[in-house]
């Protein structure tokens, strides 16, 4: 991560609550992360851990009511997005921050041709003549690897395959050369080969245009493939943060370890897959202390009462588990004494 420069996007202690009739769901409960220029940052976690909500908050799209951004700051290019008026937000959306959604089928309007929709994505922010507009659309479709774009412009979404639709969505996101693309599980609805193509596409586009990507996924395979920085989220909190190398080779949080152990690998062939016992806590009734303690094998008594702070392992590797931190320190000092 670039420590010398300010990051492009900086989310600080973001809390997003959803008020129900009887209780409040704390979907995002104090999350901080940074996305540097040209970086790919992955948010990883199970369903319901607050990944998507924290991304929607960046665009000011948390439905209110019932959602409410309780506290926190989202700094984009030094400006606090949460303080902006709706009109200013509209200027940022699509223009500087674009989003690719999970379901390419339902994210395109069924009654318009894709040409129409890409054109509109451009028109909202830029004033172009129709000829220029068309050329730009064709170039965008070519960039995202759609063959014979001139004809595809006249197609309706239902005439395209899932992979093509997601490419169109990416083309729309790229339409105004945004600085940041938020990709909310863009490959979940696609099969594995298409998934690999889309990931490749995102990577090439990023290298060409130098934009940042905030990639939200639950698929650790994808993370290993594209991420620079990884944030592992659990129950509305960041559990562990580090670069890809650190997270995959030296996971320091029991949750990350559990996730990695659950991946099917070559060595585990023929064996039962590992799983983390239990399930994600209900965001309205979170356990006290560390939210992971009911499912954690290394939990101690203090885990039940005190929410641990992030422990620093150096080189930007942080983990919210003091138990493992202490264990490692003891080991290290024992080694030192042994020397």
């Amino acid at each position: 991560m670039n420590h010398d420069k300010d990051p492009l996007l900086s989310v600080r202690n973001l809390k997003v609550y959803f008020h129900g009739r009887d209780d409040t769901a704390r979907a995002v409960d104090g999350v901080s992360y940074d996305v540097g220029k040209g970086e790919t940052v992955c948010l990883v976690g199970e369903s319901g851990c607050g990944k998507t909500v924290s991304a929607l908050a960046i665009l000011g799209l948390v439905p209110d009511p019932p959602g409410e951004i309780v506290s926190g700051d989202i700094l984009f290019k030094g400006r606090n997005i949460l303080r902006l008026k709706e009109v200013e937000l509209q200027h940022i959306r699509g223009n500087q921050i674009a989003m690719v959604f999970q379901e390419p089928l339902t994210s395109l309007n069924p009654v318009f041709t894709i040409g129409n929709q890409i054109e509109e994505a451009i028109q909202v922010h830029e004033d172009l003549e129709s000829k220029e507009l068309r050329d730009r659309c064709i170039r965008l479709l070519k960039d995202v690897g759609i063959a014979s774009p001139e004809q595809r412009l006249k197609d309706y979404p239902h005439q395209l395959s899932g992979g093509q639709r997601q490419r169109v969505m990416i083309a729309m996101a790229l339409a105004c050369n945004p600085d940041l693309i938020i990709a909310d599980e863009p490959t979940t609805a696609l099969d594995v080969t298409v998934q690999a193509q889309i990931l490749n596409l995102l990577r090439t586009i990023q290298q060409k245009a130098g934009m940042s990507i905030l990639y939200i996924t639950h698929d650790l395979g994808v993370v290993a493939n594209i991420a620079d920085q990884v944030y592992v989220m659990y129950s509305g909190l960041i559990a562990e943060k580090g670069n890809t190398e650190q997270i995959f080779s030296q996971p320091r949080h029991p949750y990350t370890r559990g996730l990695l152990a659950s991946l099917p690998g070559r060595s585990s062939r023929g064996k039962r897959l590992h799983s983390i016992p239990g399930s994600v806590p209900n965001p309205s009734h979170k356990p006290g202390g560390c939210p992971f303690h009911p499912r954690c094998a290394s939990a101690v008594e203090t885990c039940q009462s005190v929410l641990p702070d992030m422990c620093d392992y150096g080189k930007g590797h942080l983990s919210r588990c003091p138990v493992i931190y202490d264990l490692e320190r003891q080991e290290k000092s024992r080694e030192k004494r042994g020397d």
């Binding site: 309007n109 909202v124 005439q159």
Partner: protein, 383 residues
């Protein structure tokens, strides 16, 4: 990758647009086709009719009185000896007969067709526009609330305007000033209490009073409670009689169905991903409502509009029959019918011809609308 995709991308099935597909489905419904044909005939007759019956020297003069030729049956030949030059019917016969003043019923029917057509279309146009607007707002912004303070200020301002209108200037001006002052006061207090916790009375004022959805949908319910024909009668009796007033009044009393349709469609469309995607692209709310969501919600509106035209034509005919419609001497199907009812036994064609015309046109719009509904609603296709 590209070559492989090329193969996958070329569908061999013929490419059809939505309209073509709709036509294919619509074509199979014979009654609907009949409705469409009659509709086209009616439309062209009305357009040709207005050209032929208006102007200084119309081809078919609906207002020409020939008292010596009164109450002639259809296809009767005129007695050319008693008629002045140019008074003879252009077709050589009175195609639909003559009425009690010796006016050519055929000319009058032509003139009336245009009235029915324009009243039907304009009234439904108004009602659809109002309905879409209200339904769109209720469906999309329905969850946003109007706050207590806003209600109070609106009431104060409204009362002020009413008092001004009634001639009590002093009281009106005072109320308007109070209204403006309270707006300023609220804005200031919001500034002051941004950081601190506001006192109880301010909290009370900021509490949600009523949601937009409630306001609009209760208004719809209230409007639906009125027997609309009598409401129209009352309004028309108060307003000067003219074709435009009738269009506007019919339009403004029939938008409730459209509002309900559009609201219902919007409630489900609002949750769709493409709306979220449009928002994420920075597209404004009104553009999302009218450009992105409306085309998805328009099918049931179109269907109900087609049937609405039939209702509007019937309503106009009814008003004219009762003498509240387009003022004479302008002919409408309703007032031809009404004039003819005194001679129903002596000259039955005066009631039969406009009556049958109304029946056929209304029926054709209903058939056409039903056909459109079947073609547009995929759930009904497999019958």
């Amino acid at each position: 990758m590209t070559s492989a995709e090329n193969i996958l991308e070329r569908p061999e099935t013929p490419r059809r647009t939505r309209l073509q597909e709709l036509w294919l489905l619509f074509k199979e419904n014979r009654l609907a086709i009949l409705g469409l044909v009659i509709f086209v005939l009616f439309f062209s007759t009305a357009v040709v009719g207005v050209i032929l019956t208006s102007g200084e020297d119309p081809v078919f003069d609906p207002a020409l009185i020939r008292l010596q030729e009164k109450l002639l049956p259809p296809l009767a030949r005129p007695n050319l000896e008693t008629l002045a030059h140019g008074e003879a019917p252009r077709l050589g016969v009175y195609l639909f007969g003559t009425d009690d003043l010796g006016r050519d019923v055929f000319s009058r029917m032509l003139q009336g067709a245009w009235v029915s057509l324009t009243v039907g279309f304009v009234a439904v146009g108004i009602s659809v526009l109002v309905g879409i607007f209200m339904g769109g707002i209720a469906g999309y912004f329905g969850q946003s609330h109007i706050k207590n303070d806003q209600v109070i200020i609106t009431v104060i301002m409204f009362a002020g305007v009413v008092l001004l209108g009634l001639g009590k200037e002093m009281a009106g001006v005072v109320l308007l000033l109070v209204g403006h002052a309270s707006i300023v006061l609220l804005l200031v207090s919001k500034r002051i209490f941004r950081k601190r916790t506001p006192p109880k009375w301010l909290k009370m004022l900021h509490r949600n009073a009523i949601s937009l959805d409630t306001i609009i949908m209760r208004l719809v319910d209230i409007m639906l409670c009125f027997p609309s024909f009598f409401l129209i009668l009352t309004v028309v009796a108060l307003l000067p009689a003219s074709m435009y007033n009738i269009m506007i009044v019919i339009g403004l009393t029939s938008w409730m169905g459209t509002t309900r349709f559009v609201r219902a469609e919007f409630l489900s469309l609002r949750e769709q991903d493409f709306v979220a995607a449009a928002k994420a692209l920075g597209i404004g709310n009104f553009r999302i409502i009218f450009r992105h969501m409306m085309p998805n919600a328009i099918a049931p509106v179109l269907v109900s509009a087609t049937i609405g035209i039939a209702t509007a034509i019937l309503t106009e005919a009814g008003l004219s029959f009762l003498g509240f419609g387009v003022p004479p001497p302008h002919a409408t199907w309703g007032n031809i019918l009404s004039d003819g009812k005194r001679f129903i036994f002596d000259a039955p064609w005066l009631t039969w011809i406009p009556g049958t015309a109304i029946l056929i046109v209304v029926l054709c719009f209903n058939l056409f609308g039903e056909g459109l509904k079947d073609a547009m609603n995929p759930k009904l296709r497999e019958k």
